[in-house]
Assembly symmetry: C2
Amino acid sequence: MPATDSHCWVGVDLGGTKILTGVFDANLKLLGTAKVSTRAERGLDTVCERIERCIREALESAQCKPAQVRAIGVGAPGAVDADRSTVLFAPNLPGWRNVPLGRRLARALDRPVVVGNDANVCTLGVHEVELRAQPRHLVGVFVGTGIGGGLVLNGELYEGASHTAAEIGHMILEVNGPKCGCGNRGCWEALASRTAIYRRLREAVDAGEKTILTDWLGRELEDLRSNELRKAWHHGDKLVRRILLQTADYLGLGIASLVNLLNPEVVALGGGLIQALHAELMPRITETARARIMPGSERALTLLASRLGDHAGITGAAVLARRALEAAPARTAKVKRA
Amino acid sequence: MPATDSHCWVGVDLGGTKILTGVFDANLKLLGTAKVSTRAERGLDTVCERIERCIREALESAQCKPAQVRAIGVGAPGAVDADRSTVLFAPNLPGWRNVPLGRRLARALDRPVVVGNDANVCTLGVHEVELRAQPRHLVGVFVGTGIGGGLVLNGELYEGASHTAAEIGHMILEVNGPKCGCGNRGCWEALASRTAIYRRLREAVDAGEKTILTDWLGRELEDLRSNELRKAWHHGDKLVRRILLQTADYLGLGIASLVNLLNPEVVALGGGLIQALHAELMPRITETARARIMPGSERALTLLASRLGDHAGITGAAVLARRALEAAPARTAKVKRA
């Protein structure tokens, strides 16, 4: 075991298209990162090898040796049994069902590994590193292709009866609203994610409305990213502005529901859309939400855009690793040796 | 202090129109009840005197002496600071703002008194007495004039940052839906409470639709209670059936949102509407909810109608009294003597 002042934690953000890894010192200061594509379509073995490669590259960039790593945390997309570090089901990782990812990586890397749900892990990162574990109750809202969430209640990550809590993207906000990827109608993520923005833009373009985005990306608007939405906003594109403000309203309404339900000290927003557009959208999101929150809960609330941005996942995964090892060394060690 | 086998707990359910009190033995078996009207319009002093009277009558009916009472719990409508047993604000009790109800009653009755929010208290009663404290995570949904709720998370009542959590009636379910008493649009209680049923019935009658209810109650449908809705259902009244099934669907949709968010073991429904109509509505509520809950959370869920009925409030208030005294005798004693 290396001396305390030289050990490090590794956080892995496993996504459907890319893997991002960060190496952190004992105080969770980021020392180095690496990124590789996931290649999920090539199957489980390939993804695991690519996670290992990404960790090696991050350690090199941080100038750390593998022996300095005390533990590795992974945020994985989908339903995760955190007690067993097993991915139960991941819609964006084809074929992943009941994958004992923690045990597998621990064996390959000879280090303790813990795995959690990606949005939970992001929320943990915001709570412990950005907010210094101050709020007793925090709701994390991560807006990208979908809307993911995490809940810290009474200072601890809340995972529910079967590790599937915080599916905030599937709160119903409009009973007869647009179809969601989950099969229901009017889910929050069908109304307020980048997918929802894309759908509204396509419908408007099909109806003959104009936007600079078709000049940049073609009529199909393929490969639309949050950065192009920001550029179009600042270009004064009326359609984009209207649709983004409508989306901000839906974000505010969903946040109001969450706050009326959970009365947290802090709601922290993150994810690609917020990272790219927080300056443009947060005032409207805040205004819409606050107007609909019950007075007692409204006064208690801080609503903010996380500054961790892209690094929320790796930061939270490193927190997860540290917590697991400090709280229950026996459990993590068992994962490693099993 | 009386011997353990002869002491009792008192639970008070303080409502806007009536006060119900129950006296319970050491094992929370109900020994006797009493009911008086609240007379909220006559102000705070009158209401406090009537609570005292109701407690005396309940003790008589239970054949208990005041000295046998170890503590009194009160469920009060509105926002309650449970740490200080203070009613912060109660929309149905005119003039009640920052009322130190616990201290006041403790002084008058010379017994420890604790006060909590009514829907929280009902949830506590269902959790501890009906469900024998089995579920780690329970959502209580009480449907009457409005929709109140309570959350037991990790085995403990969850009250949020400022004691205003679980305002489940003000989750937004339909962005441009009907106006709610809170000023917003499309809140759950504007879509699925008895108030919502009444509004739909009135609109239908005004539009010329027929219902047996106008024969029984007149065109204004004043004094419509849940029991009349049940009678009209069994009379085969088509309008009433259609509106009740629509309401059941909205109840199911809101429950789906709550379960996707909190992944509880149990959702327990109660309140006047459910008490009167559980046989008629629970199948439809359950079907609609389960179809919209994410698979992992759906498998973990038991959805039931509480059998405590009208007694959920007094039972939970007695639980509150017992918990407060057993968990923190110093705190409750302070309330008593302050």
